[in-house]
């Protein structure tokens, strides 16, 4: 890679991001606050060959996950064959009995997957998490790239980087593939949502309507969008950025005021497509994660291309024994938590905390997974004038249309704190662009 003029423009890009309202909201102590998502101009660079290996592995993984979800809500062969124990399925918070027997439009449950990976010091990539429910983040590298091009056009003449502005086309293709006839809309809970910027940006980029629940209505078994003049237009695909729980008060959380009553019932009939499909969270549970390599072998008859971080399930006695023996070097994750919460490092615990934790672990072994702490390959960020190494991960976006499609970019998040492994934006991390080289 040639010398990059872009690094001098970090401040400019951050100012532009602020001007364009590239923010995310968080709730702390019942207060809504919008934060900027700090951008670091040094990109993560992935070579062409390396990315094509990741691409193969990601496609394989998402195909297996999608097949798993179809199986769980359908024939349940993987349970029958005892590859995945049923309690991991039915007790996962993402499992919805309401989805039993449902086959979504074109058999797609995971239209947009955000797969989190890290690279170890040994240069191996490991999958950390499969985010299938409502994964967010694609808009940040999209707009950052746009602004970087503007502030430093030379950088992109000197370096052969795959254009990442096609995310909108990929998303559009995934939406059109399952559309049952009618408009495509992006359903947002509104501006107090953490990812509201992204909702409006993706709507603009894909040409979909940005709507809230009150603008959609179910009539005669079909979904309609009501425009300002009161006219009703049929809707065939909803990229919903609200969780399953709030989607439909008639079927899920009865208190939900942001959902659309009966939308789920017409979805079951095949009269509208919902992206992502409800109930797909059964496959992104941290407990189910352990079984993904087994799923790949089971459904595809292939060896997994990408590896999981070495993971133990205390649910199994031998894994429990291992966890107890090597507790101090493992990271433990509560399967019910997300966003970097519920993650504890065995090494960082006081004796008392450890005793309490072990008691809980023995009482509720299914609730936790344990993983080896991966020795991350640090990547540099600019801190003032200095380049300093920080922990970072990569969220790759895989869209499932007719075929799986991997976006040739991704969201690289880093921890600003030199001692932290947790990169989540809700915990104060920043982000980088991800360059995939085209030659």
């Amino acid at each position: 890679m040639r010398e990059v003029d872009l690094y001098r423009h970090t401040d400019t890009v951050n100012e532009l991001l602020a001007r364009y309202g590239v923010k995310f909201g968080i709730y702390k102590n019942n207060e809504f606050k919008e934060q900027l998502f700090p951008f670091d101009a040094i990109p993560r660079v992935i070579g062409q060959e390396e990315f094509s290996y990741l691409e193969k592995g990601l496609k394989q993984r998402v195909l297996a996950l999608n097949q798993f979800i179809c199986d769980i809500y359908g024939a349940k062969q993987i349970i029958r064959d005892k590859v995945v124990p049923e309690e991991f399925v039915y007790l996962s918070s993402g499992y919805l009995a309401q989805c039993e027997g449902v086959m979504p439009s074109k058999g797609v449950y995971t239209h947009i997957a955000g797969i989190d990976l890290v690279q170890g010091k040994n240069r191996e990539w490991y999958i950390l998490e499969d985010n299938l429910r409502v994964p967010s983040g694609a808009s940040y590298p999209m707009i950052a790239r746009e602004l970087c091009r503007r502030s430093s056009p030379r950088t992109f003449q000197d370096n052969h980087v795959e254009d990442n502005r096609n995310y909108a086309q990929l998303l559009r293709a995934a939406m059109d593939h399952v559309n049952t006839g009618g408009h495509t809309v992006i359903l947002t809970p509104g501006r107090y949502n953490a990812a509201y910027f992204e909702h409006s940006y993706l709507a603009e980029q894909t040409g979909a309507h940005l709507v809230t629940g009150s603008e959609l209505t179910v009539e005669n078994d079909h979904l309609y969008f009501m425009d300002y003049s009161g006219r009703k237009e049929p809707v065939g695909a909803v990229y919903r950025r609200i969780s399953d729980e709030y989607l439909d008060p008639m079927n899920f959380n009865r208190e939900s005021v942001i959902g659309i009553p009966h939308i789920y019932d017409i979805y079951r009939k095949g009269n509208v497509a919902l992206l992502n499909a409800p109930g797909n969270g059964v496959a992104d549970d941290k407990g189910i994660y352990y079984f993904v390599p087994k799923m790949i072998r089971y459904y595809l008859g292939e060896e997994p291309i990408l590896q999981n971080a070495p993971t133990y399930l205390p649910f199994y006695e031998e894994d429990m024994a291992y966890v107890l023996e090597h507790f101090d070097r493992l990271v433990l994750k509560d399967v019910a938590e997300a966003g970097g919460y519920g993650v504890v490092f065995g090494s960082g615990m006081t004796a008392q905390r450890k005793a309490e934790f072990l008691a809980l672990l023995k009482k509720e072994p299914r609730r936790f997974i344990a993983q080896e702490v991966i020795d991350f390959l640090d990547i540099d960020i600019m801190e003032g004038q200095d380049r300093v190494p920080r922990k970072a991960d990569l969220r790759a976006f895989v869209l499932l249309g007719e075929e799986p499609m991997v976006w040739k970019s991704g969201l690289t998040r880093f921890s600003r704190d030199p001692d932290s492994f947790i990169v989540n934006s809700s915990q104060g991390g920043g982000f980088k662009d991800t360059w995939v080289l085209s030659q």
């Binding site: 349940k76 309690e87 039915y90 008639m250 009865r254 009553p261």
Partner: protein, 263 residues
């Protein structure tokens, strides 16, 4: 075997009118191995938009909405049922019934239920049905039928702590106990001869079949019960569920009668 006639009437009255009313009704019994339903008539008021389908548990549903202002919502249903055609319903292989062995928010045991479960000890060869009937017997002996002390939100744990409740509570407690033994079991809503309101009971998985037990009356269901819907708990079988716009107080009246044809 019996030939039963049944009627179900439900009326909601709102003291100030409501609008944009969406509702799902799961009130219609369906033909199964055990019962044959005929002459089903259902009238819903207001009847602006009504659609029909099954839910994921196979229950018949009416989905409807009423946009305009109304201060009353009613359902009337009549029909005939031939009951007791079989003593059990086919349930398929065990691996397909897995979701029915997992506790739900209504049935998740706390201290009381765990303590209650501890008094039982079973031999490995005891069947699901034997275990469930042992639970039922003990529950019937210690729990009292009292109306008005519990409501639709009461969990099995809470009801057991009170020591009294209605059919919904008996059913949830029995489900919780069975699920602690990893026995798949379902919640059933239906109608019962001689009962003026809808009733709830339980089905237990035994060798590929569902066998119905009525813990409120301490009996194995024969031909006096008409099944309307099944699910994991009360929530999956709510007869009428709705959302609407309006600041109102609602009163519900429901009347059920089941009688033998020609009697």
């Amino acid at each position: 075997m019996k030939e039963l006639r049944f009627s179900y009437e439900m009326k909601l009255t709102f003291d100030t009118p409501i609008q944009k009313h969406r509702f799902t009704l799961k009130c219609m019994p369906r033909t199964t191995a055990r019962q044959e339903i005929a002459d089903l008539q259902v009238a819903v008021f207001p009847e602006e938009f009504l659609e029909e389908d099954e839910d994921s548990f196979g229950n018949r549903c009416i989905f409807g909405h009423a946009e305009g202002l109304h201060d009353c919502f009613s359902v009337k249903m009549t029909g005939c049922a031939r009951t007791g055609l079989h003593d059990r319903e086919p349930a398929g292989e065990l691996y397909r019934a897995g979701m029915y062995r997992c506790q739900t928010d209504y049935t998740r045991p706390g201290e009381r239920l765990c303590a209650f479960a501890e008094q039982f000890s079973f031999a490995p060869e005891d069947s699901n049905l034997t275990r469930a009937m042992t639970f039922m017997e003990r529950l019937y002996a210690t729990f009292s039928y009292v109306q008005g002390v519990t409501d639709i939100y009461t969990t099995a744990e809470e009801a057991l702590a009170l020591g009294k409740g209605v059919c919904q509570d008996y059913a949830h407690i029995l489900l919780s106990l069975c699920r602690m033994e990893r026995i798949p079991c379902r919640y059933v809503v239906g109608l019962l001869m001689g009962e003026g309101a809808s009733h709830a009971w339980v089905e237990v998985y035994e060798d590929g079949y569902w066998i119905a037990l009525d813990p409120t009356n301490h009996l194995v269901v024969d031909d006096a019960h008409i099944c309307i819907s099944t699910g994991r708990d009360y929530r999956d079988c709510t007869i009428n569920q709705g959302v609407f716009v309006g600041n109102t107080t609602q009163t519900q009246e429901a009347r059920v009668s089941v009688w033998e044809a020609g009697v």
